[in-house]
């Protein structure tokens, strides 16, 4: 049997890395928390509804509990009063978890340069993807989600655990 001849086994088996399989499975079934703060949540719902159908990318199952979710979409203005609640929800999510800051309010405070508004949710929790817009169109939202999928696919388990352990200290 020559080297170029595929064997019977190679017809039914493919070789890959464990890490790649895990990343692929994680990126293909990202479950977000059902969680909206302001008008951006309307666009998020539109992205999840049938016209744009966010579910095509495996992320349409909005979970009602942070304990079953992988992704937190900060869709709206983060106020000082809401910030500890967001922090609690984020801490309740199991690892691995990702955060998308949707809209200019969640990324940098937006037009609310005022006493109550946290100037960007990254002061409260770490953010993976920032989506600009006020509010972002569902296309922009889906583009941001695809960027998050790219990030998940290129992530490495070793880096991830290093990050976690460094954060915990």
């Amino acid at each position: 049997m020559g080297m170029n001849q595929p064997s019977a086994l190679e017809h039914i088996l493919i070789t890959t890395k464990v890490e790649k399989v895990m990343n692929w499975s994680r990126a293909s079934s990202v479950w977000p928390v059902t969680f909206g703060l302001a008008c951006c949540a309307i666009e998020m719902m539109a992205a999840g509804a049938s016209r744009f159908d966010f579910d095509r990318f495996g992320a349409g199952i909005f979970r009602a509990s942070p304990r079953q979710a992988d992704l937190m979409i900060i869709a709206g203005t983060v106020t000082y009063k809401m910030a500890p609640i967001i922090k609690t929800l984020y801490d309740q999510m199991p690892e691995p978890k990702w955060v998308m800051a949707m809209g200019s309010c969640a990324t940098a405070g937006g037009p609310f340069d005022s006493y109550h508004t946290i100037q960007g949710v990254d002061k409260v929790i770490p953010v993976d993807v920032y989506i600009p817009g006020c509010p972002p169109r569902p296309e922009a939202f889906i583009y941001g989600f695809l960027k998050l999928q790219d990030k998940i696919m290129t992530s490495s388990l070793a880096d991830r655990y290093k990050d976690i352990f460094e954060e915990v200290g």
Binding site: D113, S114, Y115, T117, I125
Partner: protein, 292 residues
């Protein structure tokens, strides 16, 4: 807020002692500009302003006439031609739409009835753009509201809105509280107003109008006016541990730096603070372990 009747003109307020780090002097574009006037609509003030303007105009005209007379006498003595007599300028008609409507004398029977019922407890009644305004003494607001609700000729059943405004340039008061009453059966609206100095606690309207409950809490939250006999005089919009009253004119729009706390550095610190406070309200001291 040192003296109740002094006009407050701090350019940079003192930040309270606490975990806040905001530096106002480093951000000059965020410093406060306090209003210099009291834009409170009032018929009495309007009449006084009009009278003062007319008097100033008359004085100016008399001065022009006197100047003309002296110039004429001088010209006659020197044998020259007499100067031209002055013409009184006609004020140009100001028909811009941007001006606020003029406060007018009260003619509505509701206002007159209210004035007859309350007597000298009414400070001022007027109409503006067809809206009825009655300013009563701050101690008599509960009585005035009771009249408005119960009197058969008035019958204002609903307190549609209640709001407050801060007037830092005013001499003898600090805030105004406005009660927007609606009569559903008579299809009329009435505005009651009180002027509240610093530290004065007006009587709550909750016993008459239950809708006043949250609105008075909001006024307390935003302006710091406490209401007497209110069932639950606590903050409603801001968190319970908030410092300052955000709708006051001397409050910086960016706050005292509360928003600049980084929760990522202070992991759970705020939650712990809230938990301690909640426990303190229930009479539990979580800070110190119980002695055995």
């Amino acid at each position: 807020m040192s003296e109740p009747n002094a006009p407050q003109t701090p350019e940079t307020p003192e930040a309270p002692a606490g975990p806040y780090v905001y530096d106002y002097k480093a951000a000059p574009n965020r410093q406060i500009t306090m209003p210099k006037t009291v834009p409170l609509p009032s018929h009495r003030t309007y009449v006084a302003e009009q009278k003062a303007a007319a008097e100033a105009d008359e004085a100016k005209w008399q001065k022009t006439l006197a100047d003309y007379e002296t110039a004429k006498a001088k010209a006659e003595a020197e044998g020259k031609d007499a100067p031209k007599p002055p013409v009184r300028p006609v004020p140009r008609k100001d028909d811009t739409d941007m001006k606020p409507p003029v406060p007018q004398e009260a003619t509505d029977p509701d206002l007159l009835k209210l004035q007859a019922l309350l007597g000298d407890k009414v400070e001022e009644v007027f109409e503006q753009a067809g809206e009825l305004v009655c300013q009563v003494k701050k101690e008599a607001i509960h009585e005035a509201l009771a009249f408005c609700r119960d009197e058969a000729a008035l019958k204002y059943e609903m307190l549609a809105d209640q709001s407050g405004t801060h007037y830092p340039a005013a001499k003898d008061f600090a805030c105004s509280v406005v009660y927007h009453l609606t009569s559903i059966s008579r299809r009329k609206r009435l505005r009651l107003r009180i002027l509240v100095p610093e530290g004065f606690a007006p009587e709550s309207a909750c016993s008459l109008y239950p809708s006043a409950n949250w609105m008075e809490r909001e006024i307390y939250d935003m302006l710091g006016i406490r209401f007497q006999n209110h069932p639950d005089m606590t903050r409603i919009l801001c968190p319970e541990d908030w410092e300052g009253y955000p709708l006051r004119k001397d409050y910086p729009t960016v706050g005292w730096g509360q928003r600049d706390i980084s929760f990522r550095e202070d992991r759970g610190g705020m939650l712990e603070r809230i938990a301690l406070q909640k426990a303190g309200q229930l009479g539990i001291n979580l800070k110190q372990p119980k002695a055995e």
